[in-house]
Symmetry: C2
Subunit: 230 residues, 2 copies
């Protein structure tokens, strides 16, 4: 057959579902995890099915059994990491409106960083493919990356709902996310540039200070506009 059986995939005995041991992970998950690793190291064209096979400790043609093409696997990877992001992102806004702008922004950034430390691959994959995502060429994963930006914009707009300064919010959130993707997705580059150890607390501290420095005045401005027009 051309692919894995889809009719009863969860029929495995529940007792066998112990994913505690890394080895007992279903093949599909092993492939996704390995693909996340490889696509976090190389942009789409430079990453290879064979690298992913090696990382997953399986023979590489098995990948084509679960994912018909490299492009669909890539799309699945983008879906996987961006879904993780969305799920986390909506929680970062919780309880922010009770704070003043400075405390609120600080809290949001801390939550963002917490996610970035736990999922360092996500933003790096986006950063690695961001430029090419604007290309004519239609790899489905690229469309997903564009959607990712749209969604983060929408998510912000919904969390901080105000119609009047829509343009300001758009400028703010796109710039905020772009800088975050760069500083957190290309950490080693910027850390080296600044003379810090790539994953160090010093570096993260610089990034936070910088994000506060750049965006706090704008946030205050947006919020004051809100209060002015109400």
């Amino acid at each position: 057959m051309a692919g894995p059986k889809k009719i009863k995939p969860a029929k495995k005995k529940a007792s066998d579902q112990r994913v505690g041991r890394n080895q007992k992970k279903p093949t599909r998950e092993k492939i996704i995890d390995a693909a996340v690793k490889v696509f976090a190291d190389y942009p789409y064209y430079a990453a290879s099915i064979r690298m992913i096979g090696k990382a997953a400790e399986i023979d590489h043609p098995l990948i084509n059994y679960y994912f018909p093409t490299k492009a669909t696997l890539f799309e699945e990877v983008i879906k996987h990491v961006t879904d993780e992001y969305y799920q986390a992102n909506i929680t970062w806004f919780e309880g922010l409106e009770e704070q003043n702008p400075e405390r609120g922004l600080s809290l949001y950034i801390d939550r963002f960083f917490d996610f970035a430390v736990k999922h360092p691959k996500a933003l790096r994959i986006v950063a690695l493919n961001l430029v090419q995502a604007g290309d004519r060429e239609e790899i489905p994963g690229y469309r997903r990356i564009r959607e990712f930006f749209t969604n983060t914009k929408e998510s912000f707009k919904n969390a901080i709902p105000l119609q009047e300064s829509f343009r300001d919010i758009e400028m703010f959130t796109i710039s905020f996310n772009t800088l975050a993707i760069n500083y957190l997705g290309a950490g080693p580059h910027y850390a080296k540039l600044l003379g810090f150890e790539p994953g160090s607390g010093q570096y993260f501290s610089w990034v936070k200070q910088t994000m506060m420095f750049v965006f706090l005045p704008q946030l205050k401005q947006i919020i004051s506009e809100k209060q002015h027009t109400r």
Copy 2:
């Protein structure tokens, strides 16, 4: 021989130096120009010597006659486009201190944009390889990209000389250049995201407005610090 004669490369009759016709360009230049094009479309690993050969309308092994390896050609390309940038960049600061912050920043951005429109490849090549430039792997071009960031930082520090708020200037200039590289180097991505035509005046106008929106308050802050501490 292993490479082009280097002893008398300029011995060609001056009368033959008419580069007006695109065809009469020296092979080395044709290769560099084609390589700039290809490396502006694909990141280092995805770009190929054969693509560059096709773009230069020569047989691809001729490239190895002028450049021993793909890595050295890439380095030469980075050198080429960053040198163009440096040369332009130093002129953008001219006469800025006579303006108020808003006019000064606006002028600087206009000059930056003017360069970006005339040399759209430069920032795109940097943007395409920025993330991987932080990698352990030592492709000489990656080091050049890191140096590019260092140099833009230094250039700014020299043009606006003030010791006290060194950290603020570092945060400002790195963030400014990062956003500029994204918005101008990955233009099509952001234009699509915003619903604009990729190379349109509308898009550039959005970018300028955004850069002003984000960075004017910081610039004012830095300048006021300067006046406060003197």
